[in-house]
Amino acid sequence: MARTLINVPKTAKKGEIIAIKTLISHEMETGFRHDNMGKAIPRDIISLFVCTYNGQEIFRAELHPAIAANPFIAFSTVATASGTLEFKWTGDNGFSATEQATITVE
């Protein structure tokens, strides 16, 4: 499982805009490079990132070969209810990683 770092506030007021930051370790091999022998290095990237908040999708990003290694994705949402945020990255070669964070909304 890929190493991830998630930053979600533990608590928030109802209706407050909260910042969410995610970082995941991934090579993001573009598929455009060649090794020392001239052989093409096959593409190996994360192609989709989805965040759900209590089961409802609130953010989605499609990633392409120009995205740097270890993609850092930051976005914001409105704190509506206490619950769980789930983060899912999927990509080439069956890559899949899931993380969760809980938030208490007062």
Binding site: R3, L5, N7, K21, L23, A68, N70, F72, A74
Partner: protein
Amino acid sequence: MTTVERRLVTVVAMICAAASTMHSALAADIPLEERKSGYEFMGRDTRAMQDDDTANPGMLSVLDGETAWQRKAGSAAKSCADCHGDASASMKGVAARYPAFDAARGRPVSLEQRVNICRAEQQQAPALAPESKELLTLSAYVGRQSRGMPIAVTIDERTRPFLEAGRATFFRRQGQLNFACTQCHDDNWKEKLAGSPITQAHPTGYPLYRLEWQGMGSLQRRLRNCITGMRVENYPFGAPELIDLELYLMWRARGMPLETPAVRP
């Protein structure tokens, strides 16, 4: 022009040439209070990336290092933690002291070399390759334990000759461009090279995450970058010349806080 006059012109030209060489040969060290970490040359965004542990990609490596610290390795089936225990206590300040003198080898060794000495002697495991992911995660994890602590290499009668050798390398003109490290990093750190700040070359955050590399790298990787740019025949990883240079640079940055894992453009 008479022969005498011609001779005189030649002599004057030689004196001028000698004077211009002497100017750079006399390059002064940067006064202690004027020293700046590479951090201070960076843009706002890159600084923010380093300052936030959930945005700093070097922390991914530190977390991997935390796992590697507990992993048993080699025919002795020992982990780093089996001898050293809790790294946050046992490794505090260690990275700030490296390169450190190793009595058995009779010379200073870098932190990466120390890890491999431990692997060979304590874990009876094969050495980790230079710049390999596992070696960098371990040195990043050990380095992280000294974050904020002042750099303090030990200079005594045993290490002084190596410090002097490193200093000599720093001041020696070499390669096809006939450059010395000091010409950029002591004399012209206020200037730019191809649009980028030159910086003072203080190794305050190694191993660090360099955006250009899209990954972690040791100080030696950075030194070899610069050396290639100077068109000098490069030193292999772990070469005594590089360790001496590391020692000199760490001494030069003495007292500056360690930032490991730093982020650099």
